[in-house]
Amino acid sequence: MSITAFMQWLANTPMSVSIRESLWGYPIIETIHVLGLCLFLGFTVMLDLRLLGVAMKRTPASEVCGRLEPWMVGGFIVMLSSGVLLFYGDPAKFYGSIFMRVKFAMLALAGLNVLIFKTGTYRKVREWDMRDATPAGAKIAAALSLTLWIGIVAAGRAIAYFLPPD
């Protein structure tokens, strides 16, 4: 089965139909998606600003990272599950959206960026925790993260405005 055929099949499952056709389905899931955004994106930006050395400078970077992480994970789970439901409500259409694909690609890059940072610069965090200037590796990771998340929000907004025709 091709991906397109799979998306068609998914679109015909009863739950997908009910999300699509219910009056409240989309508004409620979208609201949860946006509330999750406050928690996840807000904390991500604050952490990135700390890694850039411009916010919460008096607190060790590892401390900011450690304290915010569980909330960011929670916020991300909310965003991901509500996002999956939004996609599942009209999979054939969203799969065909170029901005959806751009968003997926940038999400993957953002994940990769975290992975590289955590296994690289962050392993030596004790050495630069309280230093005035954060190391270049941390700054690059933070700048990449901010850029990607701006792009992800922009692509996400664009999905709704440039949907492929039925």
Partner: protein, 156 residues
């Protein structure tokens, strides 16, 4: 207030956004990004009232640290929100959800800059945390109403 709204609605800026196919979503992106940061900084401080999140930092210090980011994102939200509003002024003026949102926005801002800021500036932190919990709950409830109202604008 109608004449003033009409005047803004007929301004060149409002007309440019109204007649453009991409300016409205473009401004919405700024509105959403600022929402993330504004919501994040508010939640961070509200969580601290419960001893959650950045718990090793004293509340006044945390509130002071996030204040510039809170104010910046608030400024971006108000500016982008105002631009979105005037581009659809005639339609938006009578939108019930927008009125609901503006009412709760006013309440949330008044609460934040009066009662909540008195609590976040309190040194030393009061012995009983209960009043702080109430402040955090009211703060989050008011902002949630602003968000719900905002989300509803496009659906009513």
């Amino acid at each position: 207030m109608m004449p003033l709204v009409q005047w803004f609605g007929h301004s060149a800026v409002a007309q440019a956004i109204h007649n453009s196919s991409w300016l409205f979503p473009f401004i919405e992106i700024f509105h959403l990004l600022a929402l993330g940061l504004l919501g994040g900084t508010i939640i961070l401080v509200d969580l601290r009232f419960f001893g959650l999140g950045m718990k090793s930092k004293p509340l006044p210090e945390l509130a002071r640290d996030v204040q510039p980011w809170l104010l910046t994102s608030l400024a971006v939200m108000l500016t982008s929100g105002f631009l979105l509003f005037i581009s659809e002024a005639a339609k938006m003026y009578t939108n019930e959800a927008l009125r609901f949102k503006m009412l709760f926005l006013a309440l949330a801002l008044i609460f934040m800059f009066t009662i909540r800021s008195r609590f976040t500036n309190a040194q030393p932190t009061p012995a009983s945390p209960v009043s702080g919990w109430a402040v955090a709950l009211i703060s989050m409830a008011l902002w949630t109403c602003v968000g719900l109202g905002g989300r509803a604008i496009g659906f009513v």
